[in-house]
């Protein structure tokens, strides 16, 4: 896949998947999922160098770690549509006996998932470990990770941020989803964090900002810059400014849809705003 229109069509389909998945089980996290749809689509279909065998040994390809596991709907949809498992399996999201648990896990053997996440703040440490393993294996592929901005309130992140800079983990691109929202309100209201850019820079990271985090071309351009900064003795942080709930007007610019599913009427409106492109599961 290469042209922007195709990636945008896929993004629209992913949004439909997200809405339908959370609606069916009346639970899950649509807001953050919608906000990161473009990022996931770009990452899995354009940015990462992935093996087409879908084996999970972690060797000889770029790897991705989702730290804020609650946005599992977007992760599952993009993995399925990238070929990791049948798209029809999205029907089982959060149901009993499913591989698509509420939060992603390796425990049920779902291809594409490399570590369990959901309890926040742990993903960057895991990504750093995987990055160090790549170096030991003389594998020049990169490690990507995604973290919520609210998630940075967890202290373990700062242990990891300090370690990565201090030990020149420069094969790592950690993206922060800067949507400014968390469960109880805006991040500024819940716990003001000041400048995340300055914090990462103060810890010794290279920071790349993507102002239009819901624009495929802007993401591709920004990540290309980030990639060019790897291998230079510093870990790379991408600050991705996104809109929570992007693509569904009544879900945008609010924390209200962080962990709430749409009802039948709301689903219909959301789907109307995102017409079927590649076919529903």
């Amino acid at each position: 896949m290469s042209n922007t229109q195709q990636l945008e069509d896929l993004t629209t389909q992913v949004r439909r998947d997200i809405l339908r998945m959370v609606h069916k089980v009346n639970s899950g996290h649509p807001g953050g999922s919608l906000g990161c749809a473009e990022f996931f689509v770009a990452l899995y279909n354009e940015i990462m160098d992935r093996k087409d065998t879908f084996d999970m040994d972690g060797m000889g390809e770029d790897l991705f770690f989702l730290s804020n596991g609650h946005i599992s709907p977007v992760f599952y949809s993009v993995l399925a549509r990238a070929g990791y498992f049948p798209v029809e399996e999205l029907n089982t999201f959060r149901l009993i006996d499913s591989r698509l648990q509420g939060h992603p896990t390796t425990h049920e053997g779902l291809p594409g998932i490399r570590v369990a996440s959901g309890s926040l703040g742990q993903g960057m440490s895991v990504a750093i470990g995987a990055a160090q393993a790549k170096k030991l294996n003389n594998d020049s592929h990169l490690i990507y990770s995604l973290h919520g901005d609210g998630e940075l309130q967890e202290g373990q992140n700062w242990e990891a941020i300090m370690y990565a800079a201090g030990n020149k983990v420069d094969n790592l691109i950690s993206t922060i989803d800067l949507n400014g929202q968390q469960i109880d309100g805006s991040t500024d209201d819940v716990l003001p964090m000041g400048s995340i850019k300055e914090k990462f820079e103060a810890f010794g990271w290279t920071v790349v900002e993507i102002e239009k985090g819901n624009n495929i071309e802007a993401i591709l351009k920004g990540i290309a810059i980030a990639k060019s900064k790897t291998g230079k003795g510093k870990p790379v942080c991408v600050l991705l400014k996104t809109v929570m709930g992007n693509g569904v007007d009544f879900m945008m610019h609010t924390h209200a849809w962080h962990g709430k599913a749409p009802n039948d009427e709301q689903l219909a409106i959301g789907l109307e705003q995102n017409a079927e492109t590649l076919g529903d599961y």
């Binding site: 742990q122 750093i128 370690y163």
Partner: protein, 344 residues
């Protein structure tokens, strides 16, 4: 049927004479080849693994000397990760290193290896099925003078409750070294618990360490003593005294608390009819409760617990602490006498 009264008396006299001899002969004894700390056994095992297994990597949270990881660091600097005082990050990194096929050994004190990072172990290691070896020194009261902030007595319980986690508590230098080498071959998360003080080194130098396999140290008929860690030597000392008192004790060294060797425990208690469990850990959540469960399900029998009694520790020398909190051979002897009397 004996032919005469005299013959019968003679026979009884002979049998009485044989009893202490019989017990004395079968009571196998063990020699302390010199006191050594179990953490040095871990260090020696890790050094050997460094030479024999390229996949083994080690992580430490600012306690290289305490964990005896110096040699591994010196010999394999590229495979050694000093993470600083950041245990949560260490556990997460270890989980990540497995994704590239490495076998990570983390090293810090038992308290910081478990309680401090419980959720990291739970989600990133255990639930994620990662092949991480969590190696924990300075477990229990014998950490000594640093006091209760550092003396964890709850770690076996914390770790054994995690699905898929193997829990090992070794008894001496040789066994700790053997266990360290053995767990590298085991696929799956392991908690390896050892300690700070120098204690008798009495198990075989070239022993084969089998995860989940109980080691029967003495044969006995009156009471089973199931001990783990530093309490194993104390159990052997207790067995000697009990033997002199005419109580024949069967000592079982349980180095693996999970998975527990149910069959060995059931077999022994079926013979002796009662059990004493001995561990440097709270009686809640420890080896004793695991043994009680096995017996409740299979062969209910009287049990006494030599363990701390739902308390924190305190500062003191290891010997003073083990005496004050009832974790020595004297406590095991008392418990054995008590439990033997409780038999029907």
């Amino acid at each position: 049927m004996l032919s005469t009264k005299r013959e019968g008396l003679l026979k009884i006299k002979e049998l009485i004479k044989q009893i202490p001899i019989f017990v004395g002969i079968t009571m196998k004894t063990y020699t302390n080849t010199g006191n050594k700390d179990t953490r040095s056994g871990f260090g020696a095992g890790l050094t050997e693994l460094g030479q024999t297994n390229e996949k083994v990597v080690a992580l430490c949270a600012d306690l290289i000397g305490s964990l005896k990881m110096d040699d591994f660091k010196k010999n394999h600097p590229e495979r050694f990760f000093q993470v600083g005082i950041a245990e949560a990050n260490m556990i997460g990194m270890a989980a990540g290193l497995t994704i590239g096929g490495k076998i990570p050994f983390t090293g810090t004190f038992a308290n910081f290896s478990t309680g401090r990072v419980y959720d990291q172990i739970r989600q990133s290691v255990a639930y994620s099925d990662k092949n991480v070896k969590i190696c924990a020194s300075h477990a229990g009261l014998t950490l000594g003078e640093d006091g209760a902030t550092h003396q964890i007595l709850e770690d076996i319980g914390l770790m054994k409750m995690l699905p898929g986690m193997t829990v090992i508590n070794t008894c001496d230098y040789n066994q700790t070294k053997a266990a360290t080498i053995a767990i590298a071959e085991h696929q799956g998360p392991v908690y390896l618990r050892f300690g700070r003080p120098s204690v008798p080194n009495f198990t075989d130098e070239d022993q084969k360490f089998e995860i989940g396999k109980a080691v029967q140290l003495t044969e006995g008929t009156d009471v089973t003593i199931v001990a783990t860690g530093h309490l194993v030597w104390e159990a052997l000392e207790a067995a000697k005294t009990l033997n002199e008192q005419g109580i024949s004790a069967e000592v079982i060294n349980i180095h693996t608390i999970k998975p527990l060797d149910d069959a060995a425990i059931i077999k022994s208690v079926k013979k002796t009819g009662c059990v004493v469990t001995a561990e440097e850990h709270n009686f809640l959540g420890g080896l004793g409760e695991s043994v009680a469960r096995v017996l409740a399900l299979n062969h209910p029998a009287p049990q006494e617990f030599v363990a701390t009694q739902d308390t924190f520790g305190e500062s003191g020398t290891p010997a003073q602490l083990m005496e004050k909190y009832g974790l020595n051979s004297a406590s095991i002897i008392n418990a054995a006498q008590k439990v033997a009397k409780r038999k029907k």
